[in-house]
């Protein structure tokens, strides 16, 4: 191989190596729990940090929605069929928020285990649940067996 072509080849290989390393690092990074998503089971086990904004998801427990009179504050419970957490939200709930439907709440956990939500995200039917919630529910089912 003539020297010029050899140099080019080395350069291109170097570039490809760099890109490969980049891809591997991205894959590694994505598997870390960067979104701080926790299931009710993990939260009740104390795996979630308090005083830090986290996400929690599951199904809204039927019969658990309780609104306070005279304000927008609503208390409800979220479950992954393995544990239940209490959530308190002050604001307008999304239209698609319903009992027995999937929900993701974002907020801070206090020392009593109450999650004060800054925002509530709801999806309509079960096939369109956020993947984190589906995954969490599957895990809980496996653990229950």
């Amino acid at each position: 191989m003539n020297p010029k072509r050899k140099q080019r080849l080395i350069l291109i290989l170097l570039g490809v190596c760099g890109l490969t390393v980049a891809v591997f690092l991205v894959i590694f990074a994505l598997r870390q729990n960067l979104n701080y998503f926790f299931t009710p089971l993990e939260i009740s086990n104390g795996a979630a940090p308090s005083e830090q904004v986290i996400r929690a998801g599951g199904m809204v427990l039927p019969g658990s929605i309780a609104r306070e009179d005279g304000s927008l504050v609503v208390n409800f419970k979220v479950t992954d069929y393995a544990a239940i957490i209490d959530v308190k939200y002050d604001g307008i709930l999304p239209d698609l928020f319903e009992e027995g439907q999937g929900v993701v709440v974002i907020g801070k956990l206090d020392d009593n285990g109450l999650l004060t939500a800054d925002s509530v995200l709801a999806k309509h039917d079960e096939t369109y649940m956020p993947p984190e919630v589906t995954h969490a529910l599957e895990q809980a089912e496996k653990a229950a067996k």
Partner: protein, 223 residues
């Protein structure tokens, strides 16, 4: 190829040594600006701890930008840049060596200064190694991306400020990943993910920047 690398590194380091007074500027800037933050915002140690990662990172980035213009300017002005591009040596290798030297004389000293400054900003001790790792990667990214900007502006008289404007948007992810890493460890959360993102960006920049820089140099030299 090895000889080329050896020779270029030697040349760059010798030239850098001859202008070592210039190279102290970024370090002084770093110390100065970091000191301004507690004086200007708050001396409350808890609040400083929250801000420390971000402040150190922003100041380190800005300081590194100061010496970026010098990467190609001297060679451009005396004509040796044109010679490098015309020679049979692959210009990407020469550019990589220049980037590496810039990092050695700017990014690495800044990183070595950071422990001292982190004490001033009340950064918890256990966060220090991660801070330094993030700064090492981040300043290397900055040298890589900055070389593209330096190459684009080397032919212009007042290239310095334009250089900063051009590459600032591209540096935003570096800043975000770097500060997130430090803030994660300060808050006691998972930091390897953020550091990995920073590493990925740096690796990607390593793969792509030399080619873009060479293209930009060719535009500037033919102006």
């Amino acid at each position: 190829m090895i000889k080329l690398v050896q020779h270029t590194l030697q040349r760059e380091l010798t030239l850098a040594y001859r202008r070592r007074a210039d190279l102290l500027n970024p370090l002084f800037f770093f110390v100065l600006v970091v000191s301004l933050f507690p004086m200007g915002i708050t001396t409350d140690l808890d609040k400083l701890t929250e801000m420390s990662g971000g402040v150190l990172w922003v100041c380190a980035l800005l300081a590194s930008l100061l010496s970026l213009d010098l990467m190609f300017r001297n060679d451009f002005e005396d004509g040796s840049l044109e010679q490098m591009l015309l020679s049979s040596a692959p210009p990407q290798v020469i550019v990589l060596c220049k980037i590496f030297c810039h990092w050695l004389v700017t990014g690495v000293p800044l990183t070595l200064l950071s422990p001292l400054l982190s004490i001033m900003l009340a950064l918890p001790g256990h966060a220090l190694p991660v801070l330094m790792a993030s700064l090492l990667l981040g300043t290397f990214s900055l040298s890589l991306i900055g070389s593209i900007g330096a190459a684009l502006t080397v032919g212009l008289r007042k290239g310095g400020l334009l250089l900063t404007i051009l590459i600032m948007p591209v540096l935003v992810p570096v800043l975000i990943f770097g500060t997130s890493t430090v803030q994660a460890i300060v808050l006691g959360l998972a930091w390897p993910g953020y550091l990995a993102f920073l590493g990925a960006f740096t690796a990607g920049a390593f793969a792509l920047a030399p080619w873009l820089t060479v293209a930009a140099l060719k535009v500037s030299v033919c102006d």
